[in-house]
Symmetry: D3
Subunit: 328 residues, 6 copies
């Protein structure tokens, strides 16, 4: 669709592209804001014929997304900006790109603050909250509630095999929040003492599925069984439009050496050790997503995606992923 390569890309934009590629720019939020920044720069520095601005900025957008189309926050930043110039051309388009990029950056910067404020409202004095793995969004929600003087307690899982739950336990205890630390498999025993589960999010699909650290879906299932609220706290840039067009989430498989030692593997060569990084929690088990936009019911995920990135964003992202990976 966007073919011409005769357009000059400003050096700052090239720098950002390199930064994302080389992983110098990291973290869902930072990547997303850099991409919006790049579009803004490209718009500001555009010196060509204004009639050609729209194809030009689409070309830059395309180039940006191709850097890492599977990182959900990157295409989201680009689609946020680009979807706003749908019917515009010339100077109107250019101004809209600049304004939308600024808007996106502001939204993203305030995201953690805003979502922790919203999340803390859901927490009542005396609540016992269960969490899993380690999530900055969750910790900031809990800290906010604690700072508001609510006397909360936390039950957290160790999160095998990498024990990220130990980080969460340490951080929360250092804030002063009472923490009970438990093995993953004992989750169902403790769920009846819990008022609320809050976990983070890797990605959220258009039909409200949550992709998060393996074990999340078991906790969600146990919470559902016991009638306990289950929330995922996350910035809105984790909502993925790709699934809207039939795209599938691929779960990363990690090294067996995180599960057993090299010696054990040698001693038991016929045992196949598997170590998936994430699992998928269905929307039925999720009370809501605590985001910077508000508390989103899972079934309304598609609404957020449409509002923020446009209905076409899923289809386009999938196309770009396929090009990248030459997937049929």
């Amino acid at each position: 669709m966007v073919e011409g390569r005769h357009w000059r890309i400003p050096r700052e934009v090239e720098d950002i592209i390199d930064g994302i590629k080389s992983m110098r720019i990291r973290g869902a939020g930072k990547i997303a804001r850099s991409a919006a920044e790049a579009l803004k720069i490209a718009a500001l520095k555009y010196r060509g014929d204004l009639k050609e601005f729209t194809p030009y900025i689409n070309y830059v957008a395309h180039k940006l997304i191709r850097t890492r189309p599977t990182a959900v926050s990157l295409p989201n930043a680009v689609f946020y900006v680009i979807s706003r110039i749908k019917d515009l051309t010339g100077e109107d388009a250019r101004e809209t790109v600049i304004k939308a990029a600024d808007e996106f950056i502001t939204l993203s910067k305030k995201a953690l603050d805003r979502l922790s404020e919203i999340g803390a409202k859901l927490i009542k004095d005396g609540y016992v909250i269960m969490t899993h793995c380690h999530s900055t969004a969750v910790v900031s929600v809990l800290q906010k509630a604690w700072n508001q003087g609510k006397s909360i307690r936390v039950i957290n899982t160790e999160t095998r095999p990498k024990f990220q739950g130990r980080i969460t336990a340490r951080v929360l205890a250092s804030i002063g929040i009472p923490v009970t630390h438990i093995p993953d498999s004992s989750v169902r025993m403790f769920i009846n003492r819990v008022d609320m589960v809050i976990v983070g999010a890797d990605t959220i699909t258009s039909d409200g599925h949550l992709i998060n650290k393996v074990g999340t879906s078991l906790i969600a299932l146990a919470a559902w069984e016991s009638g306990t609220s289950f929330y995922s706290a996350t910035e809105f840039i984790k909502f993925s439009p790709a699934s809207f067009a039939g795209g599938d989430v691929i779960i990363e498989e990690r090294s067996p050496l995180e599960v057993v030692s090299e010696d054990w593997i040698k001693a038991n060569p016929k045992v196949n050790v598997l170590n998936p990084a994430f699992d998928v929690t269905p929307p039925e088990y999720i009370t809501g997503f605590i985001t910077d936009l508000g508390v989103i019911p899972p079934k309304a995920a598609v609404l957020v995606i449409k509002e923020m990135f446009g209905l076409e964003s899923g289809y386009m992202q999938l196309k770009l992923i396929e090009e990248e990976y030459a997937i049929e």
Copy 2:
């Protein structure tokens, strides 16, 4: 109820009582058979007035159970024998005790064989079976099916914190059965590839709850959610009559040092580490108990208890536990 202490207890019986107390006699099966043996010896060696035989043997029974009333197999062995002389006295009672003790011992000895034969029938060629922790009963069912030429595969959990799943993986692989070894928290991701779950049992209550290694109830919940059969393989002596009279199962709490290191505890003194040994799986999630008597639907547990140990056994066992622990 049974008060007289002027009766002479044969030395062999005293030996068995000591053996159970000192843990020289160990394992649910061995303890149970020793208790039955003790009753048989007491009956054989009884030289007193035959009219007093029934109170005498009840006295011995009482003494035996008090040795360790919380070990479910011990009172079960005793009630199996004693419930059969309910309305009998004299020589009739004596002969019945001897016969019932022999019966019980034979039943118990053949239990593993019989249940593995019954369990193997439930397994079809090509089945993928999930198991948790390490259970001799489960391994013998799987081995039986494998020896029958069924091409089965096993997915087994590592079973934090003690990693008993590694033993299971090693043993099954050494038999030749293909094993996939996974972290506990990834159970729900694999459950859809599984045809059947089989776990062991610590205790089974009169209303069909299964007490087993922590994590069992989460697997059962995930199996139920996905429509996968969930079995527990166990000898009938694990069925506990106590809950029939309102008795409660107390879950052993184990050392936090199985979960985190001593250093970690010192570094994080405000984190409370909990490590429950077992959990409780409700009957709704259990397809059946694979026992030496047959495949018992959970709701029929009370029937097994009544048939094998008599309706009064629960009440009596509870009384004895309370005396022992002076529980109100």
Copy 3:
């Protein structure tokens, strides 16, 4: 089946029959024990040919049941005794009747004590318990737990239209138990603060349905929804064999004047006011029946009935009800 009417019925037996008919003998327990007593007297005073004893006692049994076949405890007492002489004749039968009648009376007299002991075991320190209407069995369970030093609290419904819940509130408060008194329709708001529901029982069917004061099934439904245990406390004589043979429970319809005033009815002649006395709670919502025999899972109701009254009792009772009411 039992036709001869030339047998002489002892006067004491006639007295009991009159007492039940005239409602001089009242209350499920008292009626049942009187009926057993009547059979015992008939057996003791029998002077006829011993070969005819079995038909004779069946004749007396028949006569007793016909007095009030719909009062579940009355035929149950009779069947308890009669089912024990199934294959017996002559002196054996006579002795068995006397012994069984005594057994029944003893069981029934100890019933409340025994069930409150068993029920109290299910209650843990700190429990919040919800109850509905007014039930002696429930009050005695709660009192037992309270006397054991357990710090319980009770939430009880007012139980429109007759406000029997006010009696329960008053009685429990006088014992010292803290009581929260609520309107019937607010049950679902309080159920999440509750650890356990205990209600009484009017009748229990062979497949585990509970007939009890209207509103019971709504509370059971709300308890089920929230994962709260739901028990019914009752003597075993409330288990009805009739439903085993297809018999149906008929729900008493009470006066509209319990719901609205006479004036209101006159002012609103077109409004049809209905006031059913009981409703039916399905076994899926019932954790167990707390009885003098133990904690019975609802699905095992049929087992209790078979053990206590014999498999034929349902069929026979239904026949007698039909004769009485000339129902097709």
Copy 4:
């Protein structure tokens, strides 16, 4: 955000503010329409610099909402108007305010008519409909269906403790609709004879929960259990955006004297009588909201809120409530 207080508020607007404060202006619809009217007047009478119109009208809006931020219809009216000038200034903004206020007033006036027309379409000839408490919206739906010649029947609850159900019974009977009047606790007994439940609404949250007269959620649960449709009939101004930002619904607690007499309380000083006014019905149990906009699936409540009041309305309303009550 809106600070300046040097703006002159027209007297008519001040009058409306006073009217709402003093409860002279009452009823969700009337309050909402008055607030829209106030904004219109403020816009019409504005004589200041047009560049300052947007901050001015926001100031008036703010002032209006602060009058009673917890009355859901008031802020909704204001947000309806204000959200439409999001990016506008000057004369454009002024005209938009006037037009939007008129639109809102028209919508609100036609609401009852429109929703009763839509609701009546859902009712088929011969339907038996259950209702609870007294709701003008429900009565108008039923009357509409009846006037269309549909032969409906109504089962209605007495609605303890205030017996508002008696009003409903009287009103419906006077229209000619056959009414069966029942105690609240018998709801589950009648639900199987019912084709449809329709109740009113106090408030509807962004994730589709219904706040309504206590007892509503029990009826909804029973309807769900029996597969009966459950609708709530309500104007769209009852949809509350506040929960979208994590806001919580606070249930009014009413006097115990509505439940028991003063004498009873004195006689039973240790009994704590509670009397909550409303309860919360989860979206899973609600077939749809019958509104003037159409039949809204509960999960689409957030869509209505976004369309009508803007995504920011929840956050802003919550802020204003917090200011008002100085809630953290």
Copy 5:
């Protein structure tokens, strides 16, 4: 176990064995009664040493069952008789066999009458009843209810591919019962107009699964979804003990020519047409089994089996099936 073949089998017994083998004796009831008759004859005509009677009669039993071990009623008849001499020898055993065989024959002969009487009790005036395929037991229940003057209506499926439902429609219409005849796939559309489903039974497993004409489980599922009662009417001889020992039900696969024509198969050689005869309905969807013994809750199936055929019957039957088919 039973090896000696030097015993003489009376000619009448040989005749019965031949009759069953050659399918001259057909129908579950007739086969069962013939087998009981054979055991009675063998006992009556026994002229050997009475000490050897028990092994002898076991030998005959064994021979009978081997005739057709997969026909559930045949081994059931044999186990009914044989389980009653468990601990008996000599004349006692012989008399017991004769008495038990007579009992069984009487029970079986009265079965249809008895179950239709019990089933009819469950049907109320005005009921709409759905049925599937053609079952004599169901027809006799419906006819009984009709003859009692109950105004029932029946909805029946055509039951592809053999259209046995047309027979049912014709038979019921000839009795006078109003019948609505529908395609199998429209079952869910009609289930809400239905008060009760009654189907027949091929076999019932020990844990309460129903094996019946394909399509039964879909109807049961739809009935369960809509809260409609679902019964299976059947003689108690259809309860199979084999599954108690882990035995599996094998579903007969019938000819594709019942589904499509030979021409069609030739024209579409790559289409694989499958035609299973039966399917399996899980106990959760079954309200009860209407049998000659009473209305059996599915979870009590194991109780019936134990009472009627003994706990060992399943294990023995399975052994005999395996011998027959040399199944591992």
Copy 6:
């Protein structure tokens, strides 16, 4: 609302109206595109006063819809175009109509291609897919997946009474896809071997119900029970706005002669044979709608309708249906 009939309708538009009326123009897609074309022509050929363009084009729209208001795709095409000129008049309105009509035609033409591409993404290599009846959309999704080299297999129902499943079996087999052909009533037996169900759609309501060939809802129920994904593949023009305003779907009743022969009906005059063409599948059982716009969660159907046809479309369509049929 639109009354004037003095406007001249271009002959080409009259032709299209005639074509739709006389069924010369057939098929949901073709009818819809013709209607859009008609609006475009009417706009292009309009020679009247531009101030009157909006009422004029509404008049044409009205005329078009009245041709067949129950054919969901026809009013949808019209509302798609008309809802876009809501606030426009004059030349703006005219241009918008032309542009929107073109847009609609393009969308509709690409629909099958686009949805088969999206649907094929959901299918993984090795999948077993069940389908029902014959749907062009489903066949094209399957063909697309097959052409992508995915080794899929299909299980398809015969779809009584018209056996459209035979067409599907033949078509798929001719493509090369392995097909297993089964009777409708055996669906539940095969569902556990299936990875995914895909069916077509007749109509989709605003709250996500699927109207499709009778039997669809039974398959959906069985899929839901077994945790199998259930999709409906359909162009977006099948989404019906009418239900949003309380409109009801009327299920076509077809001739009994499709079910039984004329002879059979004559021989069994008292049997009432019913043959409904469609049934209704509730949104709870539907994973998603595979449409040309993306994979729509059922609960987001209302969003599609609002985006595509406007919120008022349902109300207007219903009004027109009522006028047509003079329904109250």
